[in-house]
Symmetry: C2
């Protein structure tokens, strides 16, 4: 059984979707939740499901490289196979990406390459989508590389943008898709059914 660590910075609903799917049909060991600060909702969810938690915050580690060095040590100690970024709002240094090459996946709340990259996170993504007047948005699960939201794409789901959508109403419908897409991708990853060849990723049914 593959061992995964989930990274979160907020309420942790994407994290919860993995917990729930894994309770229905077990496909991985969720070894730990890594939180970017104390007191976030994701920690409560971890505790409720007896998942270890560790906080790696800017407060404790003003130096980002130092934070990720300690984090790498922690993950290796826990023999983590894969890292799932489920709303992780911290910048990830290249050294960390290299240390876990093709082992880190992320979920982003838009159809990459649209509305992604630096500055596009959380509600800001959906606000930009709504303001732009596009009719389709969605979510993307991708491997993490050194470019923000720039890694090879594993899967995407489209969501219709309605004329009267606000950033909040759109976010809520896209979150519902994220909560299906992310566990699906984590399961496929843990089962060895995701084959990456350069930019192209095949998910085997």
């Amino acid at each position: 059984m593959k061992r995964i660590a989930v990274f979160a910075s907020g309420g942790g609903t994407d994290f919860q979707s993995i917990i729930d799917a894994n309770e229905r049909v077990r496909f991985c060991d969720i070894v730990c939740l890594i939180a970017s600060k104390s007191g976030i909702g994701a920690i409560d969810r971890a505790l409720k499901h007896n998942i270890s938690t560790a906080v790696f915050s800017k407060k404790d580690y003003p130096d980002l490289e130092e934070l990720y060095k300690k984090l790498t040590y922690y993950l290796n100690l826990n023999r983590v196979d894969y890292i799932v970024l489920a709303g992780w709002l911290k910048i990830i240094p290249e050294s960390f990406v290299k240390a876990f090459e093709d082992k880190i996946i992320n979920i982003h709340p838009s159809l990459i390459p649209a509305f992604c990259g630096e500055g596009y996170y959380g509600l800001k993504v959906h606000q930009a989508v709504v303001d732009s007047g596009v009719k389709i948005s969605g979510c993307t699960v991708h491997f993490v590389n050194e470019v923000p939201d720039g890694g090879a794409i594993i899967a995407q789901r489209a969501v219709e943008v309605k004329t009267d959508d606000t950033a909040e109403s759109l976010q809520s419908r896209i979150l519902a898709e994220e909560h299906k897409l992310l566990p699906y991708c984590v399961k496929k990853l843990c089962e060895g059914k995701i084959i990456k060849t350069g930019r192209k990723v095949a998910v085997i049914d």
Copy 2:
């Protein structure tokens, strides 16, 4: 009945989709086909359906502004209400956009704002999509403004990109969607059911 002109530079399958839909349930007068050169397939389709054709080619008008000036005269003479770009590969000067503000629509074979703008036309769009590894592409109908593929979006349709897609196979599936989306938008436009407010466009059902 609104009077439309269709602009085409190639085989004219998008043009044909408007002809076919209009023959099923008449919603406009297709006053003329404007071709960017002689000998293209779209002209044959126009002739077959008794639609006037006019060629406005670089050969006859080396000066682009002059071409569009004459074209404007021609369209006004024919009392054209709306212009539909259906695979029109010529650059459109700002003066022409201004002359027909909110009267020109275009179909683009991707989900704008992804894979659009200068250099993205025809098969090149689909090749870029396939090379990038994205999982969802599609097509977009939008108003034309002074920015290439930058005008307010009227409607979009998503199309799944398959792992074994080539640019050609993807193009063929997206074309099938274009042939539904474009006549739908032209019909709504002619019926006065497209309401544009800045970047936001509502299509009334």
